[in-house]
């Protein structure tokens, strides 16, 4: 069975613990990198990361994640959404189709 992990600032993620997800509070992106590297070696199906963390380590993360079953998803942090996820989605669309058909 696979598990779900949530990594981010403590204030944004402690609620997920109540649902039964595994939470890993971190303060900096550097700390998050260590945690995530460890997590990617385990059986994690979904990895939720807060936007402020994921924006720092995204490229490195996708190198690993694209080869495994793990789905990496950004979630908004306490400051609200910075549209990080939508921007990445747009990049995916451009990669596949060659132009931005989603937001035009």
């Amino acid at each position: 069975m696979y598990r779900i992990a949530v990594v981010g600032e403590k204030d944004c993620i402690y609620g997920f613990a109540a649902l039964g997800l595994e939470t890993f509070p971190v303060k900096t992106a550097k700390e998050a990198k260590l945690v995530v590297n460890k997590l990617l070696k385990e059986k994690i199906a979904i990895l939720y990361l807060t936007e402020s963390i994921i924006s720092e380590i995204y490229d490195e993360l996708m190198k690993f994640a694209s080869e495994s079953v793990t789905s990496v998803v950004s979630i908004p942090d306490l400051f609200g959404s910075s549209n990080f996820g939508l921007n990445k989605l747009r990049e995916t669309v451009i990669k596949a189709t060659g132009r931005d058909i989603l937001f035009s």
Partner: protein
């Protein structure tokens, strides 16, 4: 193609002709695959966008609720209430097949069937704001799961489409024109040889 050395022989000619037919067939197949993938991808992407917007607004609301709940009680009480969750969720990953490409499908299972097990604390020392916050998070969870599934599928499909598109283009703009040029070159050369043989024979008087 002038820069590629081809032996002007009949063997080579028939080899190139076979290669051309194969390339044309492959090109057609890959083009169909690309179009079909693109159709799937676009509908997935639209769903992805919608879900993400929905999840983000819902999460924002739930974050606000948590923030309020936190202000209504002390940090220690809050930490203790969420320290030992009753519920735990595990995920079962199955595969879904889109045009021969496997994308993940997540099914979740809760450890206990009781939906009220998300409240892992006694109600005496916590505010009702916390209940509300936890409930709002629980409601968005299912969408978050779906989002994770679709986002991963989109990424996999996107890289597959990119690969297929590159192959289609390589066949269309490189392999097929090159083979056709080779075929033309060889048939010209062979014709030329035949003509010169004819002329030589005429000159020596072997034929009139």
């Amino acid at each position: 193609m002038a820069n590629i050395q081809i032996n002007p022989t009949r063997m080579e000619l028939s080899r190139l002709k076979k290669k051309r037919i194969m390339a044309l067939r492959g090109h057609k197949l890959l083009k169909d695959k690309r179009d079909e993938l693109m159709k799937e991808f676009i509908s997935l992407v639209e769903e992805n966008k919608m879900l993400r917007e929905k999840v983000e607004t819902k999460l924002k609301k739930s974050n606000q609720k948590f923030f309020l709940a936190k202000s209504e009680m002390t940090e220690e009480v809050l930490a203790v209430s969420l320290l030992a969750p009753k519920q735990s969720i595990s995920i079962d990953v199955t595969k879904r097949n889109i045009m021969g490409i496997e994308v993940p499908k997540f099914n979740y299972a809760t450890r206990t069937p009781n939906p009220n097990d998300i409240y892992s604390y006694g109600l005496a020392f916590t505010s009702s704001g916390l209940d509300d916050a936890v409930k709002s998070l629980y409601e968005v969870f299912e969408d978050m799961l779906k989002l994770a599934e679709i986002e991963k599928s989109c990424q996999i499909l996107a890289s597959e489409i990119e690969k297929t598109r590159r192959r289609v283009n390589a066949l269309e703009h490189v392999v097929i024109p090159q083979t056709e040029a080779g075929i033309k070159y060889i048939s010209m050369k062979l014709d030329e040889n035949e003509r010169s043989a004819q002329v030589r024979l005429m000159k020596t008087g072997a034929i009139k």
